[in-house]
């Protein structure tokens, strides 16, 4: 267990220094059997039991954060973002009642959590629309963007990582290294600004204005989302390409690869049939870690490409000082991150039964 913990130490590090640790980490997960004990459902239950308390603590932290505002929330909301409003005392009291700020803190928090479970946390202060109604209207776009970004990044990164490992030291290896370093250093919003620049200058083309849902016109929808998805997926692609390369290189040194070569398996098949599957485990871990970049990145790219998703909702809410919405959305983002990571862990369990079965 201890070595498992020690390997955990670089979890969710977006910078360069952790890749090797993830390799070690995923190996440790396998090595220390107690890390994920039990079988099937029991395994799922165990993972859930660690996620739920964390999320509860997360909710308390968000709740507390939103209440250490310098000054009174209701007054701040009424004064408005420009600081022009001059609220009267009765207005402040009324808003406080509406937001339930007159109740004790514990009750406020419990109300909020119950509201989360009932999918009803009241209306947005800005638009007046119920928060969850607006959230559910915007969620499909954000999920589509996230899925597109993850898919494109994997489609680019895994072949690139394989080629870089197989042709180690070749120009393709160096090209992929440049790609990786770029992904870790170039901000996604600059990638997008450059994309706009290139599309306008060389193709005299801009993506169609006004968001069209996938169900209405998939083709237009694709044209609107693909550029944002590519920029969003770049950092993920960089992490995955690097991980694929180093993991594959490590697996290629294993005895069973030498055995496969010795019995005359063709190089191609050694890589595809023997090495690749075994090298994918750390890659799966890195995909899970990188989800933080994808989820956080939607905020930036939806704003940049004027896409009405959840990320844009968050930025607008902050600009409008719509604290109830900010509070709920912050939790929703943490929840999405937790769920995707849980999914990744389950995939991991499927790929490597050693984790499930002691």
């Amino acid at each position: 267990m201890d070595n498992g913990l020690e390997c955990l130490l670089f979890r969710r590090d977006e910078s360069a220094g952790y890749i090797a640790c993830v390799v070690v980490y995923s190996r440790c997960q396998v090595a220390s059997g107690d890390f994920h004990g039990g079988q099937g459902l029991k395994y799922v239950a165990r993972r859930l039991s660690s996620v739920v308390p964390t999320l509860l603590l997360v909710s308390v932290m968000i709740f507390w954060l939103m209440r250490i505002l310098p000054g009174d929330v209701a007054t701040l909301i009424l004064i408005g973002p420009e600081g022009t409003g001059q609220p009267t005392a009765t207005e402040v009291t009324e808003l406080k009642e509406l937001l339930g700020l007159d109740k004790p803190m514990v009750v406020q928090w419990a109300d909020w959590m119950l509201g989360m479970m009932k999918l009803d946390v009241g209306p947005s202060l800005w638009s007046g629309e119920p928060v969850f109604q607006e959230l559910f209207r915007r969620l499909p776009l954000t999920i589509e963007l996230g899925v597109m970004a993850t898919t494109t990044s994997l489609l680019i990164a895994i072949p690139m990582g394989i080629i870089a490992a197989v042709k180690r030291g070749s120009w393709m290896d160096y090209a992929s290294r440049v790609f990786v370093l770029g992904g870790l250093s170039i901000p996604s919003f600059w990638v997008s600004v450059l994309t706009i620049l290139a599309l306008v200058t060389y193709f005299n083309w801009t993506p169609p204005l006004g968001y069209v849902a996938l169900t209405k016109d998939p083709f237009v929808n694709f044209q609107q989302l693909i550029w944002a998805a590519l920029a969003l997926g770049y950092i993920q692609a960089a992490l995955v390409a690097r991980m694929t390369r180093s993991s594959l290189l490590e697996v290629m040194r294993e005895d069973y690869i030498r055995t496969a070569r010795a019995k005359g398996v063709r190089d191609r098949n050694v890589v595809i049939k023997h090495a690749l599957k075994n090298s994918m485990l750390p890659v799966v871990t890195v995909v899970g870690i990188g989800m933080a970049n994808i989820i956080g990145g939607t905020v930036i790219l939806e704003t940049l490409w004027s896409l009405p998703g959840v990320g844009r909702f968050m930025v607008d809410a902050i600009n409008h000082r719509d604290y109830p919405v900010v509070q709920t959305l912050t939790f929703i983002f943490a929840l999405i991150f937790a769920v995707t990571n849980l999914a990744v862990d389950l995939v991991y369990g499927v790929l490597d039964p050693r984790i499930r079965l002691d």
């Binding site: 590090d13 910078s15 964390t54 250093s185 901000p187 919003f189 200058t201 704003t303 940049l304 912050t330």
Partner: protein, 312 residues
């Protein structure tokens, strides 16, 4: 009686390297790291030498006395709007007629400041928390680690946004938000390293001599867990610059008219992308080079401190 210098002692054996020689040797072994160090040295020179003033962090606007910068980064000029690079403006002017080169040069100050202070906050809170966690016994450890878990449960930008939504816009607020976001990583690494060092014989020796825990931690543990902290701190610099730029780009970080690299890429840069593409190109290069250099240096330091991870 003559005093014996280090040189004389070493005369018989292998010649001792001077500090300069060993630095050159280190640089030869890590050409990328040395390149990054040089880049960051230039970066600091640009940031400090932008002008003989403390803009945009201290002195009031109008107090600019540019040194490396060629113009006052705040002064607008309606006659020189959207000038192309050249003609007295090295990188051209923006939509308000401000000199882009000077704004980028002064922007280096914001990036360096945010990076320095926010990493200071992360390490200043995260490192003691990690050491207390490792040394404080079962319950303290449990409590601190659960808080660290909860902080890890946020996507980075989201946590920073939530903090900024509470603190408001401004350079200081952004720096605090970016600093807080970096705490859990430092805390976890510090804890793990401390646990690793804690059971080593020299700590046991100190304990058996009766040294109190605070003394052991500060005198014996801390110097020995410094290496991973330096590596993480360096990489954290890059992350901090990126986070500040992202927040500013969203209009929630460093407020205009301050010359933050992130702010420069939003608004006008996109609006005039066709007629003035340089507005979108140069600030982005500045961010990318800055982050790139810190990432590269972080990698190089990791190689130096922990050769086991090399080439991974």
């Amino acid at each position: 009686m003559a005093t014996i210098t280090a040189d004389q002692v070493n005369l018989g054996g292998r010649a001792q390297r001077t500090r300069w020689q060993s630095m050159v040797r280190l640089a030869r072994r890590n050409p990328l790291g040395a390149g990054a160090a040089i880049m960051l040295f230039l970066f600091s020179i640009i940031a400090f030498g932008a002008g003989l003033d403390t803009l945009p962090l201290g002195s009031a606007q109008g107090a600019a006395s540019p040194l490396i910068a060629t113009h006052d980064p705040f002064v607008m000029s309606s006659e020189e709007v959207l000038q192309k690079p050249g003609n007295g403006h090295l990188l051209g002017t923006d939509d308000l007629g401000r000199d882009l080169f000077s704004r980028i040069v002064y922007g280096a100050r914001i990036s360096l400041w945010v990076g320095f202070i926010s990493v200071g906050i992360s390490v200043g809170i995260g490192a003691p928390a990690g050491m207390i966690s490792a040394y404080g016994g079962k319950w303290i450890d449990f409590a601190i680690q659960r808080v660290v878990d909860a902080m890890f449960a946020f996507p980075t930008i989201i946590l920073a946004l939530a903090i900024v939504s509470v603190l408001g816009k401004g350079i200081v607020q952004t720096t605090i938000a970016v600093g807080i976001v970096g705490i859990p990583r430092i805390a976890r690494v510090t804890r793990a390293s401390t646990l690793g060092v804690k059971s080593l014989p020299y700590i046991e020796a100190a304990r058996s001599l009766g040294a109190p825990a605070p003394l052991i931690v500060s005198r014996h543990v801390f110097p020995n867990i410094l290496a991973p902290l330096i590596v993480l701190g360096t990489a954290g610099f890059g992350t901090a610059i990126l986070a500040e730029a992202s927040l500013s780009f969203l209009g929630l970080g460093t407020p205009p008219p301050n010359p933050s690299w992130g702010t420069m890429l939003s608004g006008a840069a996109q609006q005039y992308v066709r007629s003035a593409p340089y507005l979108a190109i140069f600030p982005g290069i500045a961010i990318s080079l800055g982050v790139f250099a810190f990432n590269l240096l972080g990698d190089a330091l990791r190689d130096i401190f922990d050769p086991r991870l090399r080439g991974a």
